[in-house]
Symmetry: C3
């Protein structure tokens, strides 16, 4: 029985609560590398293998995975999205930030990353980016 019981905490993972962390964005549009914070949340969760979901509970911000070697890459992504979805374009939404909502849906509200030995498995050049489209603001990220 002991060996069975010893393994149960790893098996019954439904009860593990998510981890949340806060970030502060400093510009109106900003791609923030949150890979380290996600890895830290993952270590707190104690999940050793499988797949982790990183979720943004906001509607004017998104999340994506892209290159972390040259910061020009995320700047180019932000600029390209600005051209595709201009800030002013006869939107109906009265708050004036409709473009941020569109860009949030284009990037998506969650990413999934494979975990092995408790570590995020990312490609050589990959990092996880929080995509602020209507900052600066205080924001939250949920990890499970």
């Amino acid at each position: 029985m002991r060996s069975n019981n010893a393994r149960l905490p790893n098996l019954a993972d439904e009860g593990i609560p998510m981890r949340s962390f806060s970030i502060r964005t400093h510009k109106h549009t900003q791609f923030l590398d949150i890979t380290r914070e996600v890895q830290s949340a993952l270590s707190d969760l104690g999940i050793k293998g499988g797949v982790v979901t990183v979720f943004v509970p906001h509607t004017t911000a998104g999340i994506t995975i892209n290159e972390n070697a040259d910061p020009d890459v995320t700047a180019d992504i932000a600029d390209a999205l600005d051209k595709v979805v201009p800030w002013q374009a006869n939107y109906k939404h009265c708050e004036g930030n409709a473009a941020a909502h569109v860009k949030a849906s284009m990037m998506g509200s969650a990413v999934q990353v494979i975990i092995e030995d408790g570590r995020l498995q990312l490609g050589t050049w990959q990092a996880i980016y929080f995509c602020e489209f209507d900052g600066p603001r205080s924001r939250n990220v949920w990890v499970r």
Copy 2:
């Protein structure tokens, strides 16, 4: 042994079949709030914690998470996508609905939401939207 057996149904979740529900769209392009239907399917699944996947088994419809307070937001997203991917643009696909396929891939075919205590964990303003790009049609949504 009894306590072990009592926990086994929660542990061995590989055998849980997905839930499917049907919706009816009424316009050519329509963002339909399906949060309530997803929560209901989740309750049927009996999953108390972890992450749920909501999957659209169609290629001219997508799924996204965005604001539910002001319906103008999803109207603006639909309009912005129409500008980015016009319905008529010398597409090769003979069925005439190539733009719907492009928009489906831009929004994506699945979203993931964290679950705690059997409830979807969404931000204050977030809802799950089925994105019809070639309606009106009968559509299905899969939840697991």
Copy 3:
């Protein structure tokens, strides 16, 4: 005890390592149907139910689910993305492939598919496509 032990390997899935497979793209922009390779990796993993994540560890390639009946559909998606994100557009990134990075984030780096009885559950017309945006190259796909 025996029946319990017999079920444990199915329950303790944290230790299952991911599967990786390689593909070769042959054009600069190419949508490659990898559904068969993903199903094969899934069979190797031995996962019978739940949700599988298919992850692309690159930053100039993405992944999407769309129609496999008419190859014009993915050609139209590739063309539409080329119009939305032109290859030349005063990007800052010095390697000259910024557009590929933007398109990678638009399609996303992962898809999720529901599994039942060890089989991918896809809609009638759906297939999983690796999206090459800066080929030809050797690429990897991770499945877990």
